[in-house]
């Protein structure tokens, strides 16, 4: 049994130690907001926060996550009130939406560490794949979140 702390709650899971955290979150615990896109940490759809750091959970064995504070998209805010979530809706960022959990988690971690990111910072830290092509609005929303927080 592995003990996990996710979004402030404790979970006991019976999963093989090498099971990627992604699949434990989705299948054992039932938090399906974190997505599978590639399984090789290329696309970022599986991004969660591990001790505050954006982490691709498809490549993190659950045994290595046992002592960490994990936040998933469901825990990013109590009621969808994170500034990025609000701006994503207001600025009509998502299309199919499948990549956006991971995208928001990457963007949120960036803003937490760096309240005024440059375009290069966004390029580096929010490099998740979006097949629908919503990048222009993602970039605009991150900049606006930074501007509004600064006011």
């Amino acid at each position: 049994m592995t003990t996990l702390k996710i979004n402030g709650k404790i979970y006991e899971v019976d999963a093989e130690p090498d099971t990627p955290l992604l699949w434990v979150i989705r299948d054992h615990i039932g938090l399906t907001g974190t997505k599978y896109g590639c399984g090789i940490a290329q696309c970022g759809a599986c991004t969660v926060h591990v001790n505050g750091d954006a982490t691709r959970s498809c490549q993190l064995p659950v045994q290595d996550a046992a002592s960490a504070q994990i936040t998933t998209i469901e825990g990013l805010s109590p009621d969808s009130t994170h500034i990025l979530q609000q701006l994503w809706v207001e600025m009509s960022v998502p299309q199919c939406g499948y990549c956006q959990s991971g995208m928001l988690m990457a963007a949120a971690a960036l803003l937490k560490n760096n309240p005024k990111p440059t375009d290069e910072d966004i390029d580096t830290y929010v490099d998740n794949i979006c097949r629908c092509g919503t990048y222009q609005r993602i970039r605009a929303a991150i900049h606006r979140a930074a501007d509004e927080a600064a006011v």
């Binding site: 907001g33 009509s92 794949i129």
Partner: protein
């Protein structure tokens, strides 16, 4: 344009006060597919529209939800006529089961694209009619109650008002009476000049919140009591068969429940030589997905690679090039091409190649099925629910009236999610294990078992006169033909492969000779967002311009000089003006343009690109202008233009599917790399090209084809290197 069905539309009025109980024992998400149509407290005016006793307006849509704006448009069509705010409309999934049981209550009215989730324009007039009819029924009900003429009444904010006396009644109070009204004459729907909402307001996706807080349920997220998970290994090459596999090697791995060879029934949309993926795949079923995935990866499987085991991209390329020297099927032959070529001042000749591409939606194919003796419950991210129902019925052996499809969100489609192979597989597996099963294709299976954008090799030759203008041209294209693939006896003209070379092309070039060869290979091709021959056409037009000393925009103005549709010149002028075409740029940086007609939408783009002396490409911006007639949802259209352009740019930069030893080489995003934010250009969308009239065309696909030629034409202007094949990653673009 009013469709021929208008006169035959009979809106079946049913007044049902209460109905549709929850079936005992099923999880709540089963309930909507099962309910005897209206839920409790809903009054149906017809199968498309219900009103609750609280006055909520429910539109039942046959369009799956993939975030492409299709359902926003559906809500807007209704709201324009009903007189309500679009945000006041509740969207629910129409039931494909009900459509079957009630003799096509949706598809008979909507036509054969009713259930296709890629666009909604074919349903616009119908849904407007639904709204207009409902409005008049509600007014009639209020008029009867107030004893005033219906003509004095107004519908607004989900209520009927009588301005003269200030009386109002909410829809909820009127619904039952309205449902009983039979209009002596159905009202006319509003024409575009009467629109107050369509094209004037932008409407956000109604379910945007579910996409930012993790609550949205995609097919891959479905959880059903007692569910098992399945992972799959398909036969790796077409025509391959399963020789043997060794279940004992993995059966004892934790969580593994069953290891089986798939062996589904034949699929009618899959040609005989490609049935191997359905008949010879191997599946592991386990209590969690990772257990299944780990086991299938460890399972020893012996494949007989089959008769196409030596197929390769190089081999097919040789076959295609050999065909280029042979006369093909004639698509167009005007004037005297041979004589014109003889008399040319200058002849321009080139051969172009375009690759296989994979759709790569972020959500891999998956399906969840529960099969019992008398029903199939199905959850699948599909863009064709009718096909899903038929396939599930075929595979289960039950009638289509026993198949219940539960709505889920779709994580990208682009043409990949029509066929429902995953549905057939999930049903077969669920039957085999006697429990609900969720089948997930890995990303590797997605990449290798695709139905790709068709590839092609194209020879062009143009004759230029002394004035530098083309007076003849010859095109011979060798394409993977989807139609030949599906039907070996096909001997016709493959429109999909050839557009816009000989169709959907308004260029007036005399003495045109256009020929075609249809090919098949050992991979399948099928629908792909924006697929066609725009790259080669618009690149060669640029070559003609350069050879004749003409500006590319000026040449197109001349080529379109007699075009009947004013949209061509209007769009061309809009994009040239808005992009500041011809503005001075430093060395190594240049503009390139292209324009393509796709699905009724004329789309023109100017790309501004720089290439470093070492050959690194940077696309700075793309200006796009278009003519779809009338825009419905302006910001929705903007989003589709932005997204389609980035999709096309991703195709251009690094994407290519190749074949070696019978197998697809690529597997995941490390060797099939997609565009990321760092390389995304600024996209500027310009609406001035729209001509209105009676056109109202979809906008999702048209922005894709012009991207590749616009970028490649810019690269030529910046470096002097003409790009005749893509992706760009194949080329050394260094210059100095």
């Amino acid at each position: 344009m009013r469709s021929a069905n208008m006169d035959r539309r009979q809106f079946i009025v049913t007044a049902v006060a209460m109905g549709g109980g929850l079936a005992i024992g099923l999880a709540p998400q089963h309930a909507r597919a099962d309910a005897a149509n209206p839920g409790a407290g809903e009054v149906e005016l017809n199968a498309w529209l219900a009103i609750t006793v609280d006055g909520a307006v429910i539109l039942r849509t046959p369009k799956g939800e993939a975030g492409n704006g299709t359902n926003s448009s559906m809500v807007m069509y209704l709201s324009e006529e009903l007189g309500c705010d679009p945000t006041q409309v509740r969207l629910e999934a129409a039931q494909v089961n009900r459509d079957f049981r009630e003799d096509g209550v949706y598809s008979a009215q909507g036509g054969h694209e009713t259930w296709f989730a890629g666009r909604s324009n074919e349903l616009r007039e119908l849904v407007q009619q639904v709204g207009a009819s409902a409005r008049e029924r509600l007014k009639a009900a209020a008029a009867a109650q107030w004893r005033v003429p219906a003509a004095e009444l107004v519908s607004k904010d989900r209520a009927i008002l009588h301005p003269a006396t200030g009386r109002t009644l909410g829809y909820g109070a009127l619904a039952a009476a309205a449902a009983a009204v039979v209009l002596t004459q159905e009202p006319a729907i509003k024409t575009p000049d009467q629109w107050t909402l369509l094209g004037k307001t932008s409407v956000r996706q109604l379910n945007a919140l579910s996409k930012v807080n993790g609550s949205g349920i995609y097919g891959i997220d479905v959880r059903v009591p007692g569910m098992l998970y399945a992972a799959i290994a398909h036969a790796p090459s077409q025509g391959a068969s399963l020789r043997s596999f060794n279940p004992s090697a993995v059966e004892k791995m934790p969580g593994v429940v069953k290891v089986l060879a798939l062996g589904t029934g034949a699929d009618r949309s899959t040609p005989a030589t490609f049935q191997s993926r359905l008949r010879h795949a191997v599946v592991v079923v386990a209590d969690h997905y990772w257990a299944a995935r780990k086991a299938i990866d460890a399972l020893p499987i012996d494949w007989d690679e089959g008769p196409l085991a030596q197929a390769s991209s190089e081999g097919y390329r040789e076959q295609y090039l050999a065909k280029l020297d042979l006369p093909g099927k004639v698509a167009l032959n005007t004037g005297d091409n041979a004589a014109a070529m003889q008399g040319a001042t200058r002849v321009v000749e080139a051969v172009y190649e375009s690759p296989y591409l994979e759709h790569a939606p972020m959500e891999p194919l998956n399906a969840t099925a529960h099969v019992t003796a008398d029903r199939v419950d199905l959850w699948v991210s599909t863009q064709q629910q009718e096909t899903a129902r038929r396939v599930a019925a075929e595979e289960s052996g039950l009638g289509e009236d026993k198949v219940f499809l539960h709505p889920v969100m779709v994580g990208g489609q682009f043409g990949r999610r029509n066929h429902n192979d995953e549905t057939r597989q999930a049903v077969a597996i669920a039957k085999a294990v006697g429990r609900p099963v969720k089948l997930i294709w890995s990303r590797e299976e997605m990449t290798r078992q695709g139905r790709y954008r068709p590839n092609a090799v194209t020879k062009f030759r143009a004759a230029l006169g002394a004035d530098g203008l083309p007076n003849a041209w010859f095109v011979r294209q060798v394409s993977h033909s989807f139609q030949l693939q599906q039907d070996p006896s096909f001997d016709g003209f493959d429109v999909i492969a050839m557009r816009p070379l000989s169709t959907e092309n308004a260029y007036m070039i005399d003495n045109s000779l256009i020929e075609f060869h249809a090919m098949v290979t050992n991979v399948m091709a099928h629908s792909f967002r924006g697929s066609g021959s725009g790259f080669q056409l618009e690149s060669f037009i640029d070559e003609i311009a350069h050879a004749g000393g003409k500006d590319p925009v000026e040449l197109r103005r001349w080529l379109l000089r007699n075009a009947k549709d004013p949209g061509w010149l209007r769009v061309l002028n809009e994009v040239a003006e808005k992009s500041e075409w011809g503005k001075p740029l430093p060395r190594g940086r240049a503009q390139g343009m292209a324009m393509v007609l796709d699905h009724g939408n004329i789309n023109a783009q100017v790309a501004e690109v720089s290439v470093s002396p070492e050959g690194v490409v940077k696309v700075h911006s793309i200006d796009v202008a278009f003519d779809c007639g009338h825009v419905i949802n302006p910001d929705g259209v903007r989003a589709q233009m932005e997204g389609g352009i980035l999709f096309g740019l991703s195709n251009t930069l690094r994407e290519e599917i190749t074949i070696d030893k019978g197998r697809v080489v690529q597997g995941n995003f490390d060797d099939y790399p997609l565009l990321r934010i760092a390389e995304a250009p600024v996209v500027r969308v310009h609406f001035g090209g729209n001509t209105g009239g009676d056109k109202c065309e979809p906008c999702g696909e048209a922005p894709v084809p012009p991207v590749t030629p616009a970028v490649c034409n810019a690269i030529f202007r910046a470096t002097g290197k003409r790009i005749r094949s893509f992706p760009l990653s194949k080329h050394d673009l260094s210059w100095a």
